[in-house]
């Protein structure tokens, strides 16, 4: 039994907004009441449910390639010195596995969603995920450029495609479906892209990105996945891409979906010189369509490394910056590109991006629809989240920051006209309760009885950034993992998996295709359940 008494509780899932409440924890979960055991006196402190990152890249072949590409960053990164309770590692742009767990827990985050996993290398992603201590994890599998999937959609075999998707999900031991630049990454195998929803896709005659988006969203709904289609739209990063994004959202009409890092998809203008923020249009769409959620993908000025399955975009970024470029083609499944990047306040495009991310967080009215993210490490590293929270909570601080932007930013962004300031309740929704609900993780982001006892306790502080950077206590599954700035315990987290039902004939269908499509045998392909250290399996969608 662990009791937390006297703290001011912010628990949006239960509508509790800053009330003094006592929390009782038994066997890793909240219970209505109890006695005995340790008591933490949280008088004068602020209590949130543990943070949930809905979209991050912390494990897998791509981030690991980025680590290899950036030794110069590791050299200046925060070093984690080995101790009795802690293994050594490095922070920085692409933190090492052990350090990733320490850094997330250090910020009060207790659940993270690795948002892009190719099935072919999922076995490796799980190796890395199981190395990340403390936090619970789930992962999304890349589906929108998979050759078998696209061939089926091209042939109009929707039902079979749905079964194949379900088979892939379990083969990868995944939690949900990610779509990245649908069709565009498949076209990148030919050095091409597919930017608009009605574009043709190289190698296909009828299929368009629009067909893929709609079909995948429908499949996720029909399979009753806890998390809907997680979509990285086509035409990322390009001036004027707001029309593509709105077109994509219209293709999702009638379905649930989560739009990843929408900041990168909310630009007006015709070229880099005329680029401007079009977040008002995008926010208006979200404000009138409750079937959708999104994460901001906000950027912060400074150095980072960009990692995405969007291969053609990364080639463009390499050409724009002339910096290092890594390209990974994952056979017939997906692609990936890695380019280090520096966001500069003096750069007009970067300035627009910076404002756009904050605008989305402030203009989308319902905090249950828009969540805190930097698309780590693309817009900035996750350990810089407190900087964003400060920008959201303090309009004056935003105004100060706007002053360092170029003069010609005027008229291109809406941020100077926005006075909204996040309350603590809004922050708790955007960093915990909201993303947990969007992920369908019913026991997360919720301080109610029966839920996982993941709690972060902050010392109330005038400095928002200091308060959110240094929680006084972090409790994971009832265990005090951070106390007074020290890592006390490093328990292993769980991994959430879904097991969707599928037609038993699906394997007979896929197996022969392996001979043609894959360089790995069918038997070796699925990740063995025994490789997942602490699986938490949820069944969904009955077999047909």
């Amino acid at each position: 039994m662990l009791r937390i008494t006297g703290g001011k509780v912010y628990d949006p899932a239960n509508g509790i907004n800053g009330k003094i409440r006592d929390l009782f924890i038994q066997d890793g979960r909240f219970v209505p009441a109890g006695a005995g055991g340790r008591t933490i006196d949280a008088t004068g402190m602020i209590i949130f449910p543990g943070g949930v990152d809905v979209h991050t890249h912390v494990a897998g072949g791509a981030i690991n390639f980025a680590r290899a590409m950036m030794p110069e960053d590791h050299r200046r990164a925060q070093a984690f010195i080995r101790s009795k309770s802690r293994r050594s590692g490095l922070g920085g742009m692409a933190p090492t596995t052990f350090a990733t767990g320490y850094l997330y827990a250090g910020l009060g985050f207790t659940t993270v969603n690795e948002a892009a996993v190719p099935v072919l290398s999922a076995r490796h992603t799980h190796e890395e995920l199981s190395d990340i201590p403390i936090v619970d994890k789930c992962s999304l599998v890349l589906m929108a450029n998979n050759e078998i999937m696209l061939d089926l959609l091209e042939a109009g075999e929707y039902e079979r495609a749905k079964n194949v998707m379900a088979w892939y999900l379990w083969a990868a031991k995944s939690y949900g479906v990610k779509a990245v630049n649908p069709g565009g990454v498949a076209a990148w195998k030919w050095g091409k892209d597919a930017k608009q929803l009605s574009d043709s896709i190289e190698g296909y005659s009828k299929l368009t990105p629009g067909n893929i988006v709609t079909a995948l969203a429908r499949m996720c709904d029909e399979l009753k996945l806890p998390h809907p289609l997680h979509l990285h739209c086509n035409n990322l990063g390009a001036p004027g891409n707001i029309s593509t994004t709105l077109d994509t959202l219209q293709h999702l009409e009638g379905h649930r979906a989560h739009i990843a890092h929408s900041q990168y998809h909310a630009y007006g203008g015709d070229d880099w010189d005329t680029m401007q923020s079009s977040t008002t249009e995008l926010a208006d769409y979200f404000n009138t369509h409750r079937n959708l959620t999104t994460d901001a993908g906000a950027i912060l000025f400074g150095d980072t490394v960009t990692i995405t399955a969007d291969g053609p975009w990364q080639h463009l970024l390499y050409k724009l910056t002339g910096r290092k470029w890594g390209n990974l083609d994952i056979e017939n499944e997906t692609g990936c590109g890695i380019v280090p990047y520096t966001y500069r306040p003096s750069n007009l495009v970067n300035a627009v991006q910076w404002a756009a991310g904050l605008e989305l967080l402030l203009l989308i009215e319902d905090p249950w629809q828009v969540f805190l993210s930097t698309d780590h490490p693309n817009g900035g590293c996750f350990w810089r989240y407190p900087e964003i929270i400060e920008l959201l909570m303090c309009a004056d601080h935003r105004k100060e920051c706007l002053k360092q932007l170029p003069d010609n930013i005027k008229g291109r962004v809406k941020l100077p006209e926005i006075d909204r300031e996040y309350t603590l309740y809004d922050v708790a929704t955007a960093m915990s309760a909201g993303p947990a609900r969007a992920l369908g993780l019913k026991t997360k982001g919720n301080l109610g009885a029966g839920c996982d006892a993941d709690v972060v306790i902050y010392e109330e502080d005038d400095s928002v950034i200091r308060m959110f950077s240094h929680p006084r206590y972090v409790i994971k599954a009832g265990e005090v993992v951070i106390e007074d700035g020290d890592i006390r315990e490093t328990p292993e987290g769980r991994e959430f998996l879904i097991k969707p039902g599928y037609d038993p004939s699906t394997e007979e269908f896929i197996q022969p295709l392996f001979e043609d499509c894959y360089t790995m045998s069918f038997d070796n392909y699925p990740v063995e359940l025994e490789r997942i250290k602490r699986p938490d399996i949820q069944q969904c969608g009955a077999a047909e």
Binding site: A59, G61, N64, F65, R67, A68, P71, H74, R75, A77, Q78, A79, F80, I81, R82, S83, K84, S85, R87, S88, G89, L90, G91, G92, A94, T96, T97, F98, L103, G106, L107, L120, S121, R123, H124, E127, E128, D131, E147, W188, K189, W190, G191, G203, H315, W325, N327, D329, W383, H470, I482, G485, D486, I487, D516, C517, T519, M520, N524, E528
Partner: protein, 281 residues
């Protein structure tokens, strides 16, 4: 060779060009063989980079590479007109004159080729599970090899912290070797140092290194009698499914038991290390 939707005739739909300093057995499998003069890889790659961008090249410099201008022009045309190009490279580039500069030139060539068609490059790694070791070191420490933990956290400097450098300098007072036989490949001063310190070898076989080691623990051979994971050169992990049973423990089991025994001893680091806080975030 594999047939596929876009290459229905398999090998016949592919073109393989081999570049080497001598006509090896691989030349027979190749469609085109280009014999480069030893130590001229960097020059050849740089000339190719110029020709791909239609820049003039110096005839005398081309001649020095040992490959004719005509052959190079043919290669450039083939590269630009192919659907998907892939360059594989190995120690012939990375361990000869120019070393990492050669690899950098090749990788730049691959990157620049993407202005014309899809092109990639991939290093051909050593035998066994070199790629797997590299992948795990990267995810846990940020670096692939040449890592020191002597300050309690990982630092990297090939040429200083690589195994061979540490051994030659005599900077290590014990060695623990798994799945490698440095006694067969490393320079004599490194081998001499291994022989004077407590060297512990885990290996299924008697090797040059096991013969000079103080302790040789025989382990079950991975993939034959021990399960596990091996990484392909493209960093895709493959499960190892043992076909035989072995009376010997696996490498993993031995390491785990050693670690468990060490954990029973008093923690060796000063308590001060516990004071390392998150305040630096």
């Amino acid at each position: 060779m594999q047939k596929s939707k876009f290459l229905p005739r398999g090998r016949k739909d592919r073109t393989m060009v081999l570049v080497d300093i001598r006509e090896t057995k691989s030349a027979k499998a190749a469609d085109i063989f280009l014999q480069v003069k030893p130590g001229k890889d960097f020059e050849l790659l740089t000339i190719l980079r110029a020709m791909i961008k239609d820049q003039p090249v110096n005839q005398a410099m081309v001649a020095e590479t040992g490959v004719s201008l005509q052959a190079l022009q043919d290669l450039v045309n083939r590269m630009k007109s192919c659907k998907f190009g892939c360059m594989f490279f190995g120690m012939g580039l990375s361990m000869t004159r120019g070393k990492h500069m050669n690899s950098a030139a090749l990788l730049t060539l691959a990157a620049e080729m993407n202005a014309y068609t899809k092109f990639v490059a991939m290093p051909m790694r050593g035998h066994g599970n070199v790629t797997g070791a590299d992948v795990v070191m990267r995810s846990q420490t940020g670096y692939p090899f040449g890592i020191t933990f002597n300050r309690g956290y990982p630092r990297y400097n090939p040429g200083e912290f690589s195994t061979v450098d540490v051994l030659v300098r005599g900077d290590t007072d014990a060695a623990f070797i798994i799945g490698a036989d440095p006694g067969a490949t490393m320079p004599q001063p490194a081998i001499n140092h291994l022989a004077c310190i407590p060297t512990i070898v885990l290996d299924p076989h008697v090797t040059h290194t096991s013969k000079l080691a103080r302790v040789h623990i025989t382990t079950a051979p991975a993939g034959i009698a021990a399960p596990g994971t091996a990484y392909r050169m493209d960093e895709i992990p493959m499960p190892l499914k043992p076909a035989l049973k072995s009376p010997y423990p696996t490498d993993e089991e031995v390491v785990r038991r050693i670690r468990e025994a060490i954990e029973k001893k008093p923690f060796w680091m000063p308590d001060d290390s516990e004071q390392m806080t998150l305040a630096q975030v």
